[in-house]
Every structure is written in C-alpha cells, then in structure tokens.
Symmetry: C2
C-alpha cells in the first residue's frame, strides 16, 4: 500500500466540481482529473462509478444517455441545483480541514 490514488472522502467533491464545468461522462471525468492534476489523481473505475451512483441517488447529479464525441454511447452527468449547494459545502469543509492540518504540520507551539 505505497500511496493512495486520492485522498479518501474527496472523490464526490472532485466529481461534482468537474461536472459543474459542463456535462461529462464517467470516462471523461477520469481523463479530466488525470490531465488537470498531472496524473496525481488516478481515480479507478471501481471508485468512480459507485461515486456517480451516489451523486444520482442523492439528487446532486442527473444522467442522460447520449452519443460521445467519439461516437460511442455514453452517460452524461449534469450537476443539479442541490449538487451545487453540496459542492459549495464540501469545498468549504475541505478547505477548513486542510487549513487545520496545515496548522499541525507547521507545528506552532500552542
């Protein structure tokens, strides 16, 4: 178990943010995350598809079958209004956590 492919608990955040830029299919989401992160965020399909299901179930995203740019059938995900609210909340929570962790790492004496 050398290194995780991503920080646990942040996948929903990443996916929501990605589809907030425009409708996208699962494979495309994975590609986007890889590219923009310089191959740091390697989200496997076994993590991604369950995550997308979660978003649908919670009403944070909607799905629609369409034709992809390369001609294959693909499921495009769109963020909903509830999803945008959730995204904002998760983003804030994430920054709060990172800030707190940095306090520890910087190691000020209390």
């Amino acid at each position: 178990m050398p290194q995780p492919d991503l920080l646990p608990g942040t996948l929903d955040l990443l996916v929501l943010k990605t589809i907030s830029r425009g409708a996208l299919h699962g494979y495309g989401i994975a590609q986007y995350l890889l590219q923009i992160s310089d191959s740091v965020l390697q989200v496997g399909e076994g993590s991604l598809y369950p995550a997308l299901q979660r978003l649908l179930v919670n009403g944070w995203a909607e799905a629609e079958w369409r034709q992809s740019e390369t001609g294959r059938r693909a499921r495009y995900y769109t963020i909903t209004a509830a999803g945008k609210k959730r995204l904002a909340a998760e983003e804030e929570q994430f920054e709060k956590m990172v800030g707190a962790i940095h306090m520890v790492l910087r190691g000020r004496t209390v």
Copy 2:
C-alpha cells in the same frame, strides 16, 4: 453524516507530526490537535487508539508507561527514526494530493 471529524487517511500523519514534537500520551495528542486546530480536528478515541496501535506495529512509534503531569498512569508515545521517514513521506504525499485537488477546484481549462 453532516461533516467528518477529519479527512480520512490523514490521522497517522497528524499523530506522527504531533509526537515528533516530543513524547506525548494519547489523551494529550487529542487535546493538542483540538487546540492547535481551533476545534476543527476532533479525533475520537475510537479512531485514535487504533491509529496508535498501527504506529507501534509498523515501528513508527514506541510506547512507554509513565506518570502524566496530572499524576495518572499514561502511555507516552515517541517517534522512531522509521517514523520520521514515514512522516516526511506522508507529508509530501499529502501536499501533492492537496495541490492536485486545488488544481481541480480552481478549475483551469485544460
């Protein structure tokens, strides 16, 4: 499930960093994290003690029974050389992840 008490996967990092400042017992570690993070990092005992066990098993920390400042028996944890190496690695990995996630959140077009 409103908000998690910490980012999953970062607890070992936090504990290692804390005891790298000097030997400390479990209860004290939780207190320290609370204080320095302004009550953001609320690590429960059910998370902390298993984490400490992990550190011992992996040889990243050593434990010794002593008397606490308040007079009770307490188990003081000290970071080992291997633990310091591990800490550095986890710290680097964490920053890499956070940097990558920020790329997504800032949402540059690729």
